[in-house]
């Protein structure tokens, strides 16, 4: 017989968990006591929201399930935003929460909250563990569910008496998961694959629209191979950045609200849209009736519910993106390369590059470009939310999957810094950069204490405009510049960082950017760079909400 707390760590070990991010409290005391002698690395964050974002960042950087731990009540509730963030972006996270003892459940006990009820709509599945006997099985189920099919967060709520109680646990037999209600379809249906290939062979203006599913399935290589074999241009979603190298001849960059002109025109004109691991999000489609209006749609996705949810699909392929692409690569259809179309697309690409003024002012786009050049394919870019996120997406050249980590679906300010901590822990040999706004950074700024304590080498690049920039941009464009509560008073981030024991530099001039970035990258451990950028810079191009995606507001051309 073993205690529940012991079973917890034995089953985590069986799942290969090396690191967890957490914060202690009353109902998890037995778990923390067990942790005291455990081999698992525990990173003490300074707010539970950071624990779940870090677990999420760890998962996205490594492809493994990320794990976080919090106490009942306030601890558990502090996880909610992060769980919802992971849910919207299908990130595999297991969140473990303490709960009041089963004998007190439902009595409004001290620090009791119905966290399984609260997280029902934002988890792939969740558990309230009723007995110590079931703990081991539930943990293995949770990991299986989080990490398979369309991945997502799973929460396990463990009452205190379940961790103190004892039961038998056998890692071999208890980790055999069988769930009759959950059997993801991995192989694409052969008839649909064949149908898709026939349609592709006839296409005159085909376009691939690739998303986060390509990254999470590990199908980037297959995607590029497929695009090359058929000479089909590729545009990616925000979540799909890195699925094809940005400097690949067939890569058109991102589509949608802040997508490239080239990508948005190509979508509008294509006659066949091959949607791979995407969900036709409204930030991508704009006015959905005008999205790929002349195209047949092939949609490959592991989640059958995504097919036909937002846009009518002609050829559905339910399956793991990587496996389905492999099946498609095996079909021996052939077709002459769509020369005319490819030339047209190449011409757009050349004619409308991502642009920004070059006038001696400190522009955020320039900072991102400098960083991109300096890293030259290395590194992991994590972002906050807002303009900083879009500038990073538009101007950094992503060369491989999992190089880009950002909160796409929920758009959670405060995600980036803790997620970067997770990424840095998962990939200690990669430089990890959090591209931040001054607003977002302040949403989890307390994590400076965490990076200082563990010497986690996250470099924070603040694109400081003293505004909630993205909201200000909308106010400028759609609310007659009525900047209602979007101006932020200046904060001396260098001194804040120093107070936590983290070095920092303030930069005001373009000519100092390179040296500052180099200093940060060459410093062991964390670093804060506070770039005071042009305050009212906008993210362009931009598709206004509800417009068709080829109806863009354009920035200045060079």
């Amino acid at each position: 017989m073993k205690s529940g707390a012991k079973i917890l760590f034995e089953s985590l070990a069986k799942e290969g968990v090396e690191t967890i991010f957490g914060y202690p409290g009353g109902s998890v005391l037995p778990i923390y006591d067990e942790l005291y002698d455990s081999d698992v690395r525990h990173i003490l964050v300074r707010h539970e929201q950071a624990a779940v974002h870090a677990a999420d960042g760890y998962a996205r950087a490594s492809g493994k399930v990320g794990v976080c731990l919090a106490t009942s009540g306030p601890g558990a509730c502090n996880l909610v935003t992060g769980i919802a963030t992971a849910y919207m972006d299908s990130a595999p996270v297991v969140a473990i929460t303490g709960q009041v003892p089963t004998t007190l459940l439902g009595r409004d006990a001290f620090q009791e909250s119905d966290i399984t009820g609260i997280t029902l709509p934002v988890t792939k599945h969740n558990y309230l563990v009723p007995r110590t006997e079931e703990l081991g099985r539930i943990i293995h189920e949770a990991f299986y569910i989080a990490g398979s099919g369309r991945q997502g967060p799973v929460l396990i709520d463990i009452p205190k008496d379940v961790t103190t109680g004892t039961a038998e646990y056998n890692a071999e037999s208890d980790s055999l998961v069988s769930l009759r209600g959950y059997q993801p379809t991995l192989q694409g249906h052969p008839r649909m694959i064949e149908k898709a290939m026939n349609r592709i062979a006839r296409a005159e203006r085909p376009l691939i629209y690739a998303g986060g599913g390509v990254i999470s399935s590990g199908g980037s290589e297959e995607l590029v191979q497929f695009a090359e074999q058929w000479h089909i241009p590729v545009t990616t979603t925000l979540m799909g950045l890195g699925a094809i190298p940005c400097d690949h001849e067939l890569c058109l960059g991102m589509l949608g609200m802040h997508g490239t002109e080239c990508a948005n025109y190509a979508v509008t004109e294509c006659d066949l849209l091959i949607a791979v691991g995407v969900r036709f999000d409204d930030r991508v489609t704009g006015k959905v009736e005008a999205f790929a209006p002349n195209a047949d749609v092939i949609h490959i996705d592991i989640d059958p519910a995504e097919i036909g949810k937002n846009k009518r699909v002609d050829i559905p392929i339910v399956g793991d993106v990587r496996i389905a692409l492999r099946q498609m690569l095996q079909e021996n259809e052939s077709r002459t390369s769509p020369r005319q179309w490819n030339e047209r697309v190449a011409q757009w690409k050349e004619e409308f590059p991502a642009n920004y003024p070059d006038d001696g002012k400190l522009r955020p786009q320039f900072i991102v470009k400098e960083l991109s050049d300096l890293l030259n394919g290395r590194g992991i870019i994590v972002t906050e939310v807002g303009q900083n996120q879009m500038w990073a997406a538009q101007h950094f050249c992503f060369r491989r999957p999992r190089q880009w980590i950002s909160s796409g679906g929920l758009g959670t300010m405060g995600y980036g810094f803790p997620a970067a901590i997770g990424a840095a822990v998962a990939c200690p040999d990669e430089p990890v950069i959090d591209i931040a706004g001054d607003g977002s950074f302040q949403m989890n700024i307390q994590e400076l204490a965490t990076v200082a304590q563990y010497n986690i080498p996250v470099k924070v690049v603040i694109l400081n405009n003293q505004f909630l920039g993205m909201v200000r941009q909308w106010q400028e464009l759609f609310y007659e510049r009525r900047y209602s509560f979007t101006e932020l008073p200046p904060v001396d981030f260098v001194r804040v960082a120093e107070a936590y024991g983290v070095p920092g530099i303030r930069v005001d001039a373009p000519e100092d950017v390179r040296a500052a970035l180099e200093t940060a990258l060459n410093t062991d451990g964390p670093f804060v760079l506070d770039f005071h950028i042009e305050r009212e810079e906008n993210v362009m191009p931009m598709v206004p909400a509800g417009a068709a995606i080829n109806e863009m507001i354009l920035g200045e051309r060079k």
């Binding site: 599945h125 769930l179 209600g181 519910a305």
Partner: protein, 168 residues
């Protein structure tokens, strides 16, 4: 838009009903009727839901239901031949010597049973499909319906078609 009858086979575990019901609300689908009970397997339950929507919307809700880990099978009975039943208990004003005889006669016509007789009221128990119960309710209204309780609809396909997976 039309009523769809969905038969949902689920794991018999705590919280399953709120997962299923919550999904309908969250995704903006209404529940017209709901019936939950045990089924032929002790560790499973069957939920029968009637929801109004066009075929596309119902297709989406079926897919979303299938994503719930504890949902084992979803069957849409709308377009297949099936038996559907509801039960209603209707307490009607029916005084002896006054309208009671008429009410009893109506009950008889609908093959409803009288399950309670009070001084001023009787309780009718009627079983049937939705329209039969609606019809009786309409006719009884003139006598004065004091209270009415109705179960959700339960349904089963006719013949060899099954709503259970072929696990046996």
């Amino acid at each position: 838009m039309r009523p769809h009858t969905l038969s949902i086979l689920v794991e018999n575990k705590p919280g399953v009903l709120s997962r299923v019901a919550g999904l309908f609300t969250r995704r903006g689908y209404n529940i017209e009727s709901l019936a939950v009970g045990t089924c032929e397997e002790p560790d499973m339950s069957r939920i029968t839901v009637v929801s109004i929507g066009d075929d596309e919307a119902i297709e989406q809700i079926k897919k979303q239901l299938n994503k719930l880990i504890e949902v084992i099978k979803v069957s849409d009975l709308t377009y297949s031949d099936h038996v559907a039943r509801e039960i209603a208990l209707i307490k009607v004003h029916a005084e002896a010597g006054s309208t009671r005889a008429e009410v009893m006669q109506l009950a008889d016509n609908f093959r409803a049973r009288i399950v309670d007789v009070g001084k001023k009221t009787v309780i009718l128990e009627v079983t049937g499909d939705t329209s039969k119960i609606n019809a009786l309710e309409d006719l009884l209204r003139q006598y004065g319906i004091k209270e009415l309780v109705r179960t959700g609809k339960i349904a089963m396909p006719r013949g060899s078609k099954m709503i259970s997976p072929k696990y046996r």
